[in-house]
């Protein structure tokens, strides 16, 4: 009982911290993009200001909407993106709920925010939102393949090196960096898998060049068009947390090192150092896959993006799987 209470309390704490970090990262991202575009940009705390403002605003539900579905989906989106964080090793510590779920669960729960966004958009009854939702779903179907290939390849690798453990569990995956388990071909394969997971980031995060479901200049923010006030604030936070969650997942899969295991750090500081090091890693992943990319690309069309994910990125990840397979079997 006490253990359960402890778990609930620490989960709550983690969620609050993660939400805060996600919004700060969002602010830094906006500032950085602004600087890359020769603008001054908003202050880093702008996301907090925005959310405060949105919570004060009226929450409008269109006449054509299905109110309960329309209103519940933003909460589902935020809740599911936050819950993912409880299953992924976060801030250099093992995942809080690592005994209750594994990589497959995480991939599924990570799908929920996009799905909730699409359902909410369909429920709004607006034709702009409807088109945005269609695009969101098409995009989702095209990049999920890639993630499954990545999951399978890593699980295969770990099932051979730790036959007694659950290969999909994060406790197994983070026990050793995957890079140390493979030879030359496998190393190349891992690089390809890493690149393909990074390539999925813009679509997961709803950033350029794959912010197709929102596409401001085409369908006027698409899936978000009918949302306002509290609902929009929830979706905004969900979006920010989703980016953080996905970046943490990539870090957990491919960059599991802790600072304290690399260099000597006094015992009492090691947790703080690991935490900061984790944030740096997550930010690097976000920068490489989303911030920088969105500053130097135009928006793709949904068929172009789908083709890119199904053909280019999917083949890239398959090649990665093949290389790892060669490495394992030889």
């Amino acid at each position: 009982m006490i253990e359960l209470l402890y778990l609930a309390a620490s989960s709550f704490l983690l969620i609050c911290v993660a939400l805060f970090i996600a919004l700060v990262f969002n602010g830094i991202e906006r500032k950085l993009i602004a600087r890359m575009q020769a603008r001054i940009g908003p202050p880093i705390i702008q996301p907090f200001i925005d959310i405060k403002k949105l919570f004060m605003k009226e929450n409008i539900v269109p006449d054509s909407a299905i109110p309960w579905l329309f209103n519940s989906m933003p909460a589902v989106a935020l809740a599911s993106s936050l819950i993912v964080l409880l299953y992924i090793p976060f801030a250099g510590m093992p995942a809080l709920l690592q005994n209750y779920g594994d990589l497959i669960l995480v991939l599924y729960v990570l799908l929920l925010p996009s799905l909730a966004l699409a359902i909410g958009a369909f429920a709004s009854g607006s034709s702009f939102a409807g088109i945005g939702a269609q695009r969101e779903v098409v995009l989702m179907m095209s990049y999920e393949f890639v993630l499954s290939v990545v999951a399978i390849s890593l699980a295969w690798l770990f099932s051979l090196c730790c036959p007694q453990a659950n290969a999909f569990a994060f406790s197994t995956i983070t026990s050793k960096p995957a890079w140390l388990l493979v030879g030359g071909a496998g190393f190349l394969g891992l690089i390809l898998l890493f690149i393909s997971s990074l390539a999925v980031m813009p679509a997961k995060a709803g950033k350029l060049p794959a912010d197709i479901g929102e596409a401001k200049t085409e369908i006027a923010e698409g899936v978000l068009v009918e949302y306002s006030g509290r609902n929009l604030a929830l979706l905004y936070m969900a979006q920010a947390v989703r980016v953080l969650a996905f970046a943490s997942l990539i870090v957990a899969l491919f960059l599991p090192w802790n600072l304290s295991s690399l260099i000597a750090i006094p015992e009492q500081l090691s947790m703080l150092a690991d935490f900061l090091f984790f944030l740096v890693k997550v930010f690097m992943v976000m920068f490489a896959s989303s911030i920088f990319v969105s500053a130097v690309t135009a928006r793709l069309k949904v068929d172009q993006a789908a083709r890119f994910y199904i053909i280019v990125v999917f083949l890239l990840s398959l090649l990665g799987l093949l290389l790892i397979g060669i490495d394992i079997l030889m």
């Binding site: 575009q37 020769a38 350029l208 130097v296």
Partner: protein
């Protein structure tokens, strides 16, 4: 409406087209099936007002037809009146008119390139092109005293000369744009995402362009060598032998797609730079006004009975003004035909077979200009800048520019 069709209204209020026009698109999935256009959301009755004022007052009105093309509208208006009243404009004034018109073309094309990038979601380029556009606006302000509504043209000439002292600043801007031009070429011609979004999208064939009487860069991108500056002598273009630019100059082929329309405009920036350079060198000395005394000019214009028509190449294409004077204070008839008016019907064939995602960039590719006006109130920390303060600030900036300060 059939069941699997969706109607999407683009405009009059839409983040893609901040213009008072409504384009109703009928969609099947993502594919455009049908397009219809409605205009007139901000019909301001400018021609109607102009028929109740004297020509010099109307000149100020002509300038306010468009927020971007406010050299070419007065230029066409003046040329039409000069044609009706048989006024010969001094040669120096004709050269000055060309310089102002070409500066405006640079600013307008840079504006377009930014908008095009924005429609594609490529905001970094939007901010870059609009950043470099500031330079030409500064030069325009330096020469005329105003950034946008320049109030520089006059019936029978121009109001202000470009002095020898002002030349270096203009030259410096030309050099700056020579450098920028290379970068713009890089960005727009070689970027893979821009290519993917504009190549073979929104094709207007040469035949369609001819039938629909397309004008300006829209027509030239389809391979018609129509350019009023080349075809029809007005102002100093009679001496300059401008050559109409078609995309095959650079690409060796003409497809008439959105990419071609972007290329034509990028190339025309270069052309404008060369024209300004030539005008600065070859400009003859002499008066800049046919009749400096306003009262005498008005008396003369009151005696005019006749009609005049003027063709001018605006940044967006052929602009035509027709005016009929009947020995009275105000003209009897005034007709303005802005280039977008002629190009709008080309949107329909362009959009055939496009996807919804293409609609904004294709519509933007004719560079539609449905006149707009702005009033800005900027909250500067704690102080709200009202009209007086903004005006004072802009006067200060102009003075600073004239004094030679950088900002």
């Amino acid at each position: 409406m059939k069941k699997n069709r969706v109607q999407i209204p683009i405009g009059p209020i839409h983040p893609a087209l901040k213009e008072p026009i409504q384009i109703e698109v009928e969609l099947k999935g993502e594919h455009v099936e049908n397009v219809s256009i409605t205009l007139g959301h901000v019909h301001r009755g400018i021609e109607w007002i102009g028929l109740r004022r004297n020509p010099v007052q109307t000149l100020a009105l002509a300038e306010r037809v468009c927020g971007i093309c406010n050299i070419v509208h007065p230029l066409a208006f003046c040329t039409a009146i000069e044609n009706a009243a048989n006024i010969k404009v001094p040669e120096r004034a004709e050269y000055l008119r060309v310089i102002y018109a070409e500066l405006e073309r640079i600013h307008s094309h840079l504006l377009f390139l930014g908008v095009a990038a924005h429609e594609l979601g490529f905001d970094s380029i939007l901010h870059y092109t609009w950043l470099v556009r500031e330079k030409v606006l500064d030069v325009i302000e330096y020469l005329t005293g105003n950034r946008i509504t320049k109030a520089i043209l006059m019936i029978g000439g121009v109001r202000r000369d470009i002095t020898e002292k002002q030349m270096p600043k203009v030259r410096e801007a030309l050099e700056y744009y020579e450098k920028v031009y290379k970068k713009l070429c890089d960005v727009f011609l070689d970027d893979p995402t821009i290519n993917a979004r504009t190549r073979d999208i929104g094709v207007l064939t040469k035949k369609q362009a001819l039938q629909l009487c397309a004008v300006g860069p829209t027509a030239r991108a389809s391979g018609i060598k129509k350019d009023i500056r080349q075809d029809f002598p007005y102002a100093a273009y009679a001496d300059l032998d401008v050559e109409a630019i078609t995309p095959d100059v650079l690409l060796n082929e003409i497809r008439g797609d959105t990419f071609d329309r972007v290329v034509v405009r990028v190339l025309e920036i270069k052309q404008s730079l060369e024209l300004i350079d030539r005008c600065l060198k070859e400009m003859p000395d002499g008066p800049i006004l046919y009749e400096p005394m306003l009262q005498r000019l008005l008396v003369q214009l009151r005696q005019v009975a006749g009609e005049g028509v003027a063709l001018v190449e605006a940044p967006r294409g052929e602009l035509i003004h027709y005016i009929r004077m009947e020995k009275s204070e105000a003209p009897l008839a005034w007709k303005i035909r802005a280039p977008t008016y002629a190009n709008l019907s080309s949107i329909v064939p362009m959009l055939e077979g496009c996807e919804l995602a293409d609609v904004p960039i294709v519509v933007a590719s004719i560079d539609p200009c449905i006149a707009c006006a702005n009033r800005a109130i900027i909250a500067d920390k704690n102080a709200v800048l009202d009209q007086e303060k903004l005006h004072a600030l802009s006067v200060n900036k102009t003075r600073a520019l004239l004094k030679g300060g950088s900002k």
